[in-house]
């Protein structure tokens, strides 16, 4: 029981740290990093995208749901 409680605490503590971290104020360092990551993805995105974008989008038809 004691062990479980200890574990719980660690978990929620971590959440809070990461939550704060997740919204850390913008620094020029951070914007640079984000830009570099995006550039990398943009470089490779054509290889990942479905072959024929037009056909993919046209054929994606769903029946309505809730």
């Amino acid at each position: 029981m004691a062990e479980r409680e200890l574990k719980k605490k660690t978990t929620s503590q971590r959440t809070e740290d990461e939550v704060v971290d997740a919204t850390a104020p913008s620094s020029s360092e951070k914007s640079e990093k984000l830009k570099a990551e995006l550039d990398d993805l943009l470089d490779e995105i054509d290889e990942v995208l479905e072959d024929n974008a037009e056909e993919f989008v046209r054929n994606y038809v769903q029946k309505g749901g809730q």
Partner: protein, 497 residues
């Protein structure tokens, strides 16, 4: 005091069969779910496969996709983590088990993605080369057809519904500035296509009413479905149909967490003097979704004008006062209330100064940055189908294809806890009892539902165990009984049913 905000997330996934034209989505969904069941159980001890002979994976040996006749027996199953996994309205749907906190609800929603991924891999192995069932965790096909991601929250029956509608509506209309999943273009029939290059929400285009019972037509901002799946004299279940399916854990956590706080405040009468009622909630919903500047003012019934962010800020400040006077214990025992509140404040600050700071945090911002980056680089128009394809593929959950997972958006959950949640139920709600019954005595369960389990022990009549309180049947309540019961008869005897 507000009742515990037991909560859960239901996700209807979009489904296609690559390599097959006009595949029947109901059949595809059934095959997908059956593939998962087979993967888990083989053919031992689970009669499900024999009950749906038409859905045998061998159907795929044919050249064409199986015809629609096999849909006569829809797949509907309950998993050992307490979730329901079934075919609903031509979509595979994963409904998470009842969770004690927003963070737990996000864990079980992410576990649902794992279930769908495993289902896709299992189905792929039985399909002809070049065919693949693929699901998308989004809410529209970009052609006017929408499917939902619903949230559920436990409420006190004593709260008058009219009061709930009045105070929750302005919050619902404006929360999309934080938790929208983003969409390229618009599907609203009243709006010219070119007028909205990108919007905050997947779903805003599809809402036509303020309040109502519908979920598939004339969708209302507040859904009145009164089906508590619990003791109706004490509880209500608020069925929220407005939200987007989130890929980002932070977006999802904020969506459930902030809503749980606001519902708690309304229950405790803490919003009674904070009337932010909008003149026209339905058109405001679209206005907010279409306004990437986040600066456009909405008209309130009082005559005042406020931006979506100002409305969120007013509710947030009230929530801080609520924390000080009442505490946020209704969001579970693990301190979620405090961390949701911290996150809410910081996200509002960042949206106020520069939303793009959140491009590694929130869904709509991450998607907007990706789509607009690609557009700038290639000099495309907003209606280019490449951009629409990026929008769809953001929601692909396969690791090799998902653009969301390639973006490296920040996470708050651990891999291990999500993995555990694929098979293990939450410990602090009745989902524990449901999940453990299935894990331990699955062969003897004739039917499982949100609020009951029905046992078939062979000789006796069926025995039903009611579970009318979502907060009973937890590990603390029944964990020991499971440990001590070698068979289902012993379990039922010790439960006294």
């Amino acid at each position: 005091m507000a009742v515990a905000k037991v909560c859960g997330i239901e996700t209807e996934y979009g489904i296609t069969v690559h390599g097959v034209r006009d595949a029947n989505p109901i059949t595809a969904s059934s095959i997908l779910i059956n593939a998962y069941i087979n993967e888990l159980h083989g053919n031992v001890g689970w009669d499900f496969v024999d009950e749906t002979p038409g859905n045998d994976a061998r159907g795929f040996a044919r050249e064409s996709f199986p015809p629609s006749e096999v849909e006569s027996h829809l797949v509907n199953t309950v998993l050992t983590n307490g979730a329901r996994y079934y075919v609903d309205h031509a979509h595979p749907e994963y409904s998470s088990p009842e969770c004690i906190s927003p963070r737990e609800a996000v864990i079980y929603d992410k576990a649902g993605e794992e279930v769908l991924r495993t289902s896709m891999s299992a189905a792929l192995r039985s399909m002809p080369l070049g065919q693949e069932i693929v699901v998308y965790k989004n809410n529209s096909d970009r052609k006017g057809n929408s499917y939902g991601c619903h949230e559920n929250y436990l409420l006190d029956r004593a709260l008058p519904f009219g009061k709930l509608v009045k105070f929750i509506t302005p919050f619902f209309v404006t929360r999309q500035v934080m938790v929208g999943a983003g969409k390229v273009g618009t599907e609203s029939p009243q709006v010219p296509r070119g007028q909205v290059p990108f919007q905050l929400s997947q779903r805003a285009d599809f809402f036509e009413e303020e309040v109502g019972l519908e979920t598939t037509l004339k969708r209302p901002i507040v859904n009145t479905r009164d089906e508590p799946h619990a003791d109706a004299s004490r509880y209500r279940r608020l069925h929220v149909i407005l939200g987007d399916a989130n890929m980002s854990e932070v977006s999802s956590y904020l969506k459930v967490g902030t809503t749980a706080i606001v519902l708690s405040m309304i229950e405790d009468g803490f919003m009674d003097d904070l009337d932010l009622s909008l003149s026209d909630p339905v058109s405001s919903l679209r206005q907010v979704s279409y306004d990437l500047s986040l600066k456009r003012q909405l008209r309130l019934k009082s005559g005042k004008r406020m931006t979506a962010l100002e409305i969120q800020r007013a509710v947030f400040e009230r929530a801080e006062a609520y924390r000080d006077s009442h505490g946020l214990g209704s969001l579970g025992p693990e301190g979620d209330g405090e961390s949701v509140l911290t996150l809410w404040g910081k996200v509002l600050d960042a949206l106020d100064t520069d939303p793009m700071q959140l491009s590694d945090t929130l869904d709509w911002v991450a998607k907007y940055r990706l789509v607009s980056g690609y557009r700038d680089r290639n000099g495309l128009d907003w209606d280019d189908s490449k951009l629409a394809a990026i929008d769809l593929q953001y929601h692909d959950i396969r690791p090799t294809k998902s653009l969301f997972y390639r973006l490296g958006v920040r996470t708050i959950l651990g891999e291990e806890e999500v993995k555990a949640a694929v098979t293990q139920p939450p410990a602090n709600t009745r989902a524990y009892f449901r999940g453990k019954c299935l894990e331990r005595f699955g062969d003897y369960i004739a039917a499982a539902n949100w609020d009951s389990m029905i046992f078939d022990l062979g000789s006796d009549p069926l025995r039903r165990v009611p579970m009318m309180d979502p907060l009973k049947g937890t590990r603390d309540h029944v964990g020991k009984l499971f440990d001590e019961s070698a068979n289902p008869a012993q379990l039922l005897d010790s439960l006294g049913s």
